[in-house]
């Protein structure tokens, strides 16, 4: 019991355990699971990542002037929703060319409030996807 | 896992003769939507200190039938019975609605019919 008194007393003079966020940035480990990155040139448009993604955070939808790529026969464009993604990295494991076409970084997404039409924009893409299936 | 089929009328007697409270414990009651208005009710038991010994009593019922309560034999069944009432919209003796859903809710999320 007296040790706990002593501990509590010395704790008064210790530095706090928490860091002074946002003045001190949070250090993320190199292997932290964060945002998914995409390399358009290396992608072969096999759509495996889209199928593997549990919440459906990756969508390939047809657009007017699709990215230049021989493999891209249907004129699709990659879309990724960082606010839907759960960072499980299923997509990276499914991708035949990990690290070149699809990889996982250790970054967090921006705060969504700053973005315009976070939800509505994505719903439109989902609708477009449904129409084309 | 051992599955034993019983009839709705005999389920109480079967469980009564089987259940020894120092050897078995009730895991849960489970419902399973079979068709539009039919469901399977399961009583799942497991044995203490045995390697994965699980016994399931099951019966098939119409959604309109009333499932007998086993609370007088196994007090802890009350919570699973109330869950079944909520999720499947069936009647269980002495268990009222309102564990998850509102008391006057019309929904029965896990039954076969669409809401």
């Amino acid at each position: 019991m007296f040790t706990s008194f002593a501990k509590a007393f010395t704790n008064l003079f210790k530095k706090p355990q928490t860091i002074d966020y946002p003045l001190t940035p949070i250090v993320k480990d190199r292997d932290y699971r964060g945002l998914i990155g995409y390399g358009e040139e290396a992608c072969i448009y096999c759509l495996k990542c889209e199928k593997a993604c549990p919440p459906g955070a990756i969508l390939f939808v047809p657009v007017e002037n699709p990215p230049e790529n021989k493999q891209n026969k249907k004129g699709l464009k990659y879309h990724y929703n960082p606010y839907l993604c759960i960072y499980c990295s299923e997509c990276v494991r499914a991708c035949p060319k990990p690290d070149e076409a699809l990889w996982q970084s250790n970054k967090k997404p921006e705060v969504a409030v700053m973005d315009d039409r976070v939800n509505e924009g994505w719903f439109e893409l989902e609708k477009l996807k449904k129409q084309n299936d | 896992m051992k599955k034993i089929k019983v009839s709705l009328e005999s389920v109480r007697d079967e469980i009564k003769s089987f259940y020894d409270y120092k050897q078995w414990h009730l895991l849960t009651l489970n419902g399973l939507a079979l068709a539009e208005n039919k469901m399977e009710v399961q009583w799942i038991f497991s044995k203490y200190e045995a390697m994965d010994e699980i016994v399931v009593y099951y019966t098939e019922i119409e959604n309109t039938e009333t499932i007998p309560s086993i609370v007088d034999m196994i007090p802890s069944a009350i919570i699973s019975q109330r869950e079944i009432v909520d999720m499947f919209g069936v009647k269980v003796d002495g268990s009222e609605k309102g564990l998850y859903l509102d008391e006057d809710s019309m929904q029965r999320p896990l039954s076969g019919c669409s809401i």
Partner: protein, 361 residues
């Protein structure tokens, strides 16, 4: 005139981490009957599993049932699917699964212990345990890539391999945690103000534990030998040094001691795993679609967790039934409250370590 008064505890209450409502009927200070309402955070996960997601994604869905025992949920579901697909995973994957399972148990028990201290009015201890819990959270993050949602378990194995630096860091941190836990052990047994709040309060007798089908640390504190780790064969718990921890008193103090002993046992198991980690692959690809029924049980930090999965040979499942530990213990909780003082209710409640987001699914 009516002799009793009704006092609600919750749905929002200073002593609760999650919403639940108990309605106590009290006569002076004594509680004479209890009614509970647990469905405040119902999210319909069982239904979502059979209508929205394919079977290979559900492991990630059920992990969201609960933040504290996410790993047990995804593990139970995955084990059920592996049973239906009929594959065998590698030994290394099994060991890594146990490793994370036990780390999860350590941090969950620490959270519970700190919360009991807080509800007994011992804030300094709460801070201390929560601070030390960071040591475990840190290694979990290193191992899996996230603090809370580990997403570590996959149908067929685990998602990440463990590097030797991470293994070293885990050993170091666990050593540190062990020293701290031995310190708490002393505190919890000898501190006078804690024993005043904990000893002989909220007791559950062995016979009642049997009768009410109590599970987890709650039952083990009453002397009931129920630990699913002892009763299943998919993971080699006995190989890595699992020992069941029981106590005979059944009161709050007994539950705390059981939890402390379990932390020490879990740390021992983690150390054994890391020193004897087998070589090999961490992932085996399992083919096919689940067909048939499977019941799988695991020991979550709060007790026995059960998954019932029924597949019909297609990618969508017929039924996923989740029976969570707190859900099954609610009748026992209500029984314990009767006859206690209302003032002790928060401390008793915390000693159950209730997890309501599990309960309501």
């Amino acid at each position: 005139m009516k002799k009793t008064i009704n006092i609600p505890l919750g749905s929002q209450h200073i002593s609760l981490l999650e919403p639940v409502r108990f309605k106590f009927e009290c006569e002076n200070e004594k509680i004479i009957s209890v009614d509970s309402d647990v469905g405040f955070v119902h999210r319909g996960i069982e239904r979502a599993c059979t209508t929205k997601f394919k079977f290979d994604a559900i492991g990630y869905v059920v992990a969201r049932v609960c933040g504290l025992c996410a790993i047990t949920h995804s593990l139970s579901y995955t084990a059920a699917i592996e049973k239906l697909l009929g594959g065998e995973i590698t030994k290394k994957a099994k060991y890594l699964r146990i490793l994370l399972l036990e780390l999860d148990r350590v941090h969950s028990h620490m959270l519970c212990l700190s919360h009991t201290c807080e509800n007994a009015g011992f804030e300094a201890m709460f801070m201390r345990i929560m601070g030390d819990r960071e040591l475990v959270m840190e290694i979990q993050e290193l191992l899996t890539g996230n603090r809370v949602q580990f997403d570590y378990i996959n149908i067929g194995g685990v998602n990440r391999d463990i590097s030797s630096e991470v293994a070293q860091k885990i050993v170091n941190n666990l050593y540190e945690v062990k020293q701290r836990v031995l310190g708490y052990m002393d505190e919890f047994t000898n501190n006078w103000s804690l024993s005043l709040k904990f000893k002989t309060i909220g007791a559950l007798s062995l016979d009642d534990a049997y009768r009410l089908n109590a599970i987890g640390p709650l039952a083990r504190a009453s002397g009931l030998n129920i630990d699913v780790r002892n009763e299943i064969g998919y993971l080699p718990f006995s190989e890595v040094g699992f020992v069941m921890q029981t106590h005979s008193e059944g009161d709050i103090n007994a539950r705390n001691i059981v939890r402390l002993n379990e932390i020490l046992n879990s740390i021992l198991m983690c150390e054994n795993i890391l020193s004897g980690l087998p070589e090999g692959e961490i992932f085996t690809k399992l083919k096919g679609k689940p067909n048939g029924e499977a019941v799988v049980r695991f020991e979550a930090p709060r007790g026995e967790l059960m998954y019932y999965v029924k597949g019909n040979g297609s990618a969508m499942l017929d039924r996923v039934r989740i029976k969570t530990p707190t859900f099954a213990s609610i009748p026992a909780f209500s029984h314990i409250f009767v006859g206690e003082n209302y003032a002790d209710a928060p401390a008793i409640l915390a000693s159950f370590d209730p997890c309501l987001s599990c309960t309501a699914k």
